[in-house]
Symmetry: C2
Subunit: 589 residues, 2 copies
Amino acid sequence: MSRPAGRRDRGRSRRDRSRPVSVPVDAENPAEPELGPPPDLPDGGLRVVALGGIGEVGRNMTVFEYAGRLLVVDCGVLFPSEDSPGVDLILPDFRAIEHRLDDIDALVLTHGHEDHIGAVPFLLRQRPDILVVGSRFTLALVAEKCREHRLTPRLHEVKEGARVQHGVFDCEYFSVNHSIPDALAVAIRTEAGLVLHTGDIKLDQLPLDGRLTDLGGFSRLGDEGVDLFLVDSTNAEVPGFTISEREIGPVLDGVFHRAPGRIIVACFASHVHRVQQVLEAAAAHDRKVCMVGRSMVRNMGIAAELGYLDVPDGLLIELDEAMTLPDDRVVIVSTGSQGEPLSGLARMARGDHRSVRIRAEDTVILASSLIPGNETAVFTVINGLTRLGATVVHQGTARVHVSGHATAGELLFLYNAVRPSNVMPVHGEWRHLRANAALAALTGVPEDRIVLAEDGVVVDLVDGRASITGKVEVGRVYVDGLAVGDIGESTLGDRLVLGEGGFISITVAIDATTGRAVTKPTLSGRGFSDDPKALDAVLPMVEDELSRTEAENITDPHRVAQAVRRVVGRWVGETYRRRPMIVPTVIAV
Amino acid sequence: MSRPAGRRDRGRSRRDRSRPVSVPVDAENPAEPELGPPPDLPDGGLRVVALGGIGEVGRNMTVFEYAGRLLVVDCGVLFPSEDSPGVDLILPDFRAIEHRLDDIDALVLTHGHEDHIGAVPFLLRQRPDILVVGSRFTLALVAEKCREHRLTPRLHEVKEGARVQHGVFDCEYFSVNHSIPDALAVAIRTEAGLVLHTGDIKLDQLPLDGRLTDLGGFSRLGDEGVDLFLVDSTNAEVPGFTISEREIGPVLDGVFHRAPGRIIVACFASHVHRVQQVLEAAAAHDRKVCMVGRSMVRNMGIAAELGYLDVPDGLLIELDEAMTLPDDRVVIVSTGSQGEPLSGLARMARGDHRSVRIRAEDTVILASSLIPGNETAVFTVINGLTRLGATVVHQGTARVHVSGHATAGELLFLYNAVRPSNVMPVHGEWRHLRANAALAALTGVPEDRIVLAEDGVVVDLVDGRASITGKVEVGRVYVDGLAVGDIGESTLGDRLVLGEGGFISITVAIDATTGRAVTKPTLSGRGFSDDPKALDAVLPMVEDELSRTEAENITDPHRVAQAVRRVVGRWVGETYRRRPMIVPTVIAV
């Protein structure tokens, strides 16, 4: 990647490129701990705060404030990783705007992926009449999601090219391509300047639906002068260019051609164009298609109804019917591409699917990315399928997936089209943000005009200059089962300890007046050892300790419990070198 | 990869290659459940059983039996993944040979990686005088490991080219290259035939130490006739060829050239040639090197002492001295390339390392693979380092790592050199084994001569034909802290439940004769909720239930406990839709 020539203006200068670009950590860097609450926003200034999505991949939500009013772009969920065990979803932290929900002029959704719309119902629960703005397909998915939450959102459909005033925010929408149809970028005009937010974006030059990312439109914005450019960082570390989604088609065709029996394709339930290509390969090879997985059936139903998915007549059948056809006439399109243990595909891999038994002639295609953190789950599925004899094709062995996010080469096109005065990388972990910042700098954006602002860091655009002015508290809001927000670091810390070492409980009743143990202590371990005698040796020590506390006239159950905890904890550390949670319960009777 | 021309003999035939190779699942396939204990081994037959390492990556251990005697090849550990939480190590299951330890003629170690030697002390604890055979470097690492376990092994050093009779087994050793020096393949001759076991292998044609994999020797074995070929499957899914380790050097050199400040290189603590190249780059750029991490210091000390690592005079310094030098004169070589949370590198990334504070000018190189399952940990380290401003170079962004295992193209060379009658893929998960089997078939090995035998599956070589004859029980033996084998599926299952949902304990004392509760029930949750009132609503229900059990004259503490468990379990499911472990303790006083 060499730096393309181009106009350079608005205070930008060429820099020495003999050394690799590194964005210096300065006093404004959020890694420094001293950031406090921001000052009042000066008149005519625009404030930007991410409540999720910067410093992480997921739960994207960015709040823009101008003249006392708020515009929210996206409201997604983050799927938990091993550091938040047992949790179902992680939401953006709404606290910074909870007291100002009435100030929201609109919630703009750039596209319909869960990490951009998944938290919408949770926000609407707090103020149901927020105006929700998005493209036709995005809003169809949101409406369905809200229906499941028994909410009726106020929807406002926009198309690329539309320019709409939402309260004080003058918003213009641009087509972008991504791994879901009908994605939009949004330009936000206020007196403070022109801001462009890419949403999730790629630059597929031969998109399956012919809907190009509007680079010309971005260039016109660049001519007008973009004061702040918020740019998708997901693939900034990846050099070069992503091949076109269209190139998956011939690969699928080749796999279909060679498959002797059934074909099972797993992909994301919202990837309409991927499924479109599967349908076309199926039709070309005279196979019928059945879809399995609730979200796949639902989303493809919506996509077909709205015309985003073109389904040849008679191609789709139900699974029951598919089971009656010859194997080489069948394609099953399924969820479960990330190894989700409850998905149809994982059940097939374990041999416990309700209807589908994997056989040696089956070909399984994982036409999807492998999201970091899911490797073990995905490989477990692949191993299960191959153990049963199936041929498994995945992105590690064939080009059956392309990413939906612009790689470094494409991002350079964006920077050179937009020529922004200030840049704020969004959507990514720190490694992605820095890589994106380095690309911006390569195209000539001065390093002090690139703001690396993780969740909660306040960026103010004042007099054409973006700078970090403070930080609001942004934590993680966990959804576990039906409850939102009752789980925090204490509970998760306990889960991590329990998950690593289990616990040992010691229960004893003491006489409330003498402190004498009136029962033999009950010792019990869970998640500690399979050996039923594992705790036998510590029982006499506990009894000795209880004799001691009695002798010292200790009658406070808490103090007795502490003494017992100490004895058991020391013993288990010395004997086993393990750290189970020690849970003493002392009842005074 | 097209199939090279070559001699085809020993019952092998060309096959139709117009369709992709799939190895059929037949009645012998271990995925079929009906395999039972094997019959007696016929006279003159050779039996092969893996006690670890097939169907998984790690804890390699293969047992060969001939004429009532045993030869063991490798004895390694498996590092636990998320399905075995809290465990330190997983050992091969020795049960199948535990009653026959005196029959072992030798334990042959192909090389010094933990997944090949890590369980040696645990086997020697059961019979300390087993003859341990290996190359010089391998034995040096084993001796050090045994010293830490206070064991003095009986060592027998061999070199490539050596042919040694170990009891009834006539063993010949061949040089192979891998990601550690001094690796060996072993050919085992008995009256049953000639078996070749690759160990871990690659075909670097320009190895840093000039020590080539002895393809010519393999070819001579092929001329003699290899009856069974056990082949490393790790990279069988990866098409093409691995570049030479030597090509890392110029990449390191380029990174060193551009690094403005300190350089920190993390790699595997046994990767002598990788470290060698770091030392050379450091010397070329006038930097001193200090090593941190216990295993790095230990292994490189051994390697230097034995002449496997060439350390220029005065190059190595201690960390204290390094801290006094200018930043651009320092290289730190560290462990922690897999994101291990207690490693020096992870501490630096979190900002809590004892001496090293990461700064914006630092360059960190992860010169290592990313082992599946470690992604989250490694990316956490990379994000931490980049957040602090460091430039991080890793295999995703530069060619700073090459694999130590033969990829598909190299494996074809092996098959074509050896021309085996029977093939048994080893070292790999099912996806790797099948990919390896497909390569063997492509070179002309008949599909019914390729045995896919996971751990415990018994393969007998009789009359020149290898076939599956049964299965012995092979489980996972877990080491957690000081104890070996007391943790099983029950404990791990409890840990998984506790790690996902925590527990709710309910403790109550009842009168032993009336069943009346003599205390108010104590309810307590750990890992359940941060909300101190989370369990308040269920207390009256528990009290009601206790009144009911009292009214029914139930005095058996177990029955009362069951009743309480039911009430709390139902309530928490309905109220929270969560599944914590419910732990009632009822004491009769």
